[in-house]
Amino acid sequence: MELLLLLATPAVGAVLLGIWGARRWAPELNVVMSLATFLAACALTARVIGEGNLLVAHEQFFIDPFNVFLVTLTAFVGLTTSLFSRPYMRVEMNHGRVSAPRLRLYHSMYQLFMSTMLLALTTNNMGLLWVAMEAATLSTVLLVTLYRTAASLEAGWKYFILCGVGIAQALFGTILLYFAAERFLGAEGVSALLWTHLNGIKGHLEPVVLGLAFVFLLVGYGTKVGLAPLHNWLPDAHAEGPTPISAVLSGLLLNVAIYAVVRCKVLVEGSLHSQLPAKMLMGFGLLSVVLAAFLLWRQRDVKRLFAYSSIEHMGIITFAFGMGGAVANFAALLHMTVHSLTKSAIFFAVGHATQKAGSQLIDNIRGLMTLSPTIGWGLMMGSLAILGMPPFGVFASEFLILTTAMREQPWATPILLAALGVAFAAIFGRVQPMVFGETRAGRLPHPPALLPVFTHLALVLILGLYVPPYLADWYRAAARLIGGG
């Protein structure tokens, strides 16, 4: 029931906003639908906590601690982003950058995007997971090109083609998975693609085929995660789309893609009895961290800067899942949570800052502190948080990952540390003048509402100091589920 509500609310929202998306109260409707989705997610979570794993609708949907926590996170960030997008899109419309039909498209696609992500998270069917991932791409392509500028069209095209090709690899991987499973589960019915069934027989699945399948699935979903060297689309799509979309792409879509990779890894590891999937994840993860850290130095666009930071963090998470084991998985899950909260908060702040400065170029944004202390502090705290300064949650998760790496994969620790240092210097060196630099512009008459930013940062801070026991239990259960190590 809760599940139905959860999936139906944004879908209905998409339809409603498709009709009324350009009305004056459309942003509020968007918020209301997102709120309803979040409430449904909370109800679902409560039920899963109370009754344990959930299998419904002919086993087509499966909720366990791993995905229910992502569902809540997704719905929550979806809600705060809709809150942020309300004033943001109004300003864009007043500036004439977005016309009424495009606003309608934006609102409708926003809800559709939420709906596809939630579907991807909750489905038990690996095929449907693929379909939902592809649908998530498609629903955001037109959002990236919302401004119809040359650069945004290019970004959208790259996004579409690269992710399209990537996702085609994932489809092939899914076919191989089905092929391996069908021999045991039979083609009759559709049980051969259900994750729960696959998980049950994973020890019997043909290792060669599953190894191949994993390569394709990792390349496919890895493209969406933005793992190097398949990351090319990510900075463009983040930089050229509207900022709320950058926030949800970075904070949510990447998480969902990692979720898909990890689900696949669990199956394949069970079949292969080898370190291959773990090694591949660690390799791709490390490569992404290092590459992104160095590319950060070349960025002059603030949204691209943080997009590369997302690649870096996705790399860290992938590396952690690659190491496997209870602690690393725990840390990776925690990192996923705090990264998506922090990164979306940063994008909210950046969105306001760029709107005020009228430019996305770092050089053109100066003295946010004088312009508006709330934006300035928001961006500064967010940056410090994402850079892993204590006492924020990112510090806790990165610390856990690094200490585990020191024990499990000592060779990787110096590389990780160096990359983190490089990234720290790059981001801090750019954010500092943006926040504290000289500016001739006067103080804004009334400060923008940055409730979402500070809510997120407060949550990250809390997670850094203290992980509530039920949340910790939850993470632990999920970490056990993922296993490995």
């Binding site: 069917n125 592809e134 650069a151 069209l153 790259k158 579409f160 092929f179 693609l193 060669v208 090319n232």
Partner: protein, 234 residues
């Protein structure tokens, strides 16, 4: 060899022709012909699906044959032709590699694909297991088609042909995916093409051309319409 029943021989013929069509796509310079080849590829898939459905008596294969007929044989080529007419893009520029070079790379890819398919075919129990290699080859060749082309339209044809290859792969390895997944995939493809149609008009509006040359500013660090998005990375 000679013991193969006639319908299987026909299926093998379809598979071989699919491979040939992929090569034709790889070397074809005219976009209209490219779309026609795509339609032909769809038709071959349809024939193969029907043959397989008839042979195995699996009812869902008939359904996916209907889906193929509606989407891949009729709708997509029609829509692409319409787009070509409306946008007046008939020729592709010279591909990045010369024809002989492309063919040679293509052949290597086919060898690689066949090698890749070996372990899968060895395990498959379907009558069509030997064509799995061809399916993989079609996918990879479409991939090459996509990378060696400049025009957006030819890239899309490459993308769709890649999907066709995957469909054929699923069919040869497991007699098709579960119906719900197949519907989902078809829906995604349909939506993708519609989104692309919209997209083309946006690109056209902005650049007056569908040449992807114009879409390389984010790479080369040139100043673009939106003055504040100068970038230099990879």
């Amino acid at each position: 060899m000679t013991g193969l029943p006639f319908d299987l021989q026909l299926l093998n013929l379809c598979a071989a022709l699919l491979l040939l069509v992929s090569f034709a796509m790889l070397t074809q310079r005219r976009i209209v012909n490219l779309v026609n080849l795509l339609a032909f590829q769809g038709t071959l898939l349809l024939v193969a699906t029907l043959l397989l459905a008839w042979r195995t008596g699996q009812r869902h294969l008939y359904l996916s044959a209907v889906l193929t007929l509606a989407l891949k044989v009729t709708f997509l080529p029609w829509m692409l032709h319409r787009l070509i007419r409306r946008l007046e893009v008939y020729w592709d520029t010279e591909p990045l590699l010369n024809i002989s070079g492309t063919m040679l790379v293509g052949l290597l890819v086919v060898v690689f694909a066949f090698g890749l398919a070996q372990p899968i075919s060895a395990l498959a129990s379907t009558a069509t297991r030997s064509s799995i290699g061809i399916a993989i080859a079609v996918v990879l060749l479409s991939f090459i088609t996509m990378i060696t082309r400049r025009k957006a339209m030819s890239q899309v044809v490459g993308f769709l042909s890649m999907e066709n290859g995957l469909f054929f792969g699923a069919m040869s390895a497991t007699y098709g995916m579960p119906m719900i997944v197949e519907f989902g995939v078809a829906l995604d493809v349909l939506v993708a093409v519609i989104v692309l149609g919209i997209f083309f008009f946006q690109i056209r509006e902005q650049f007056d051309s569908l040449d992807l040359h114009h879409l390389e500013s984010l790479k080369e660090g040139a100043t673009v319409a939106q003055a504040d998005s100068i970038v230099e990375d990879s």
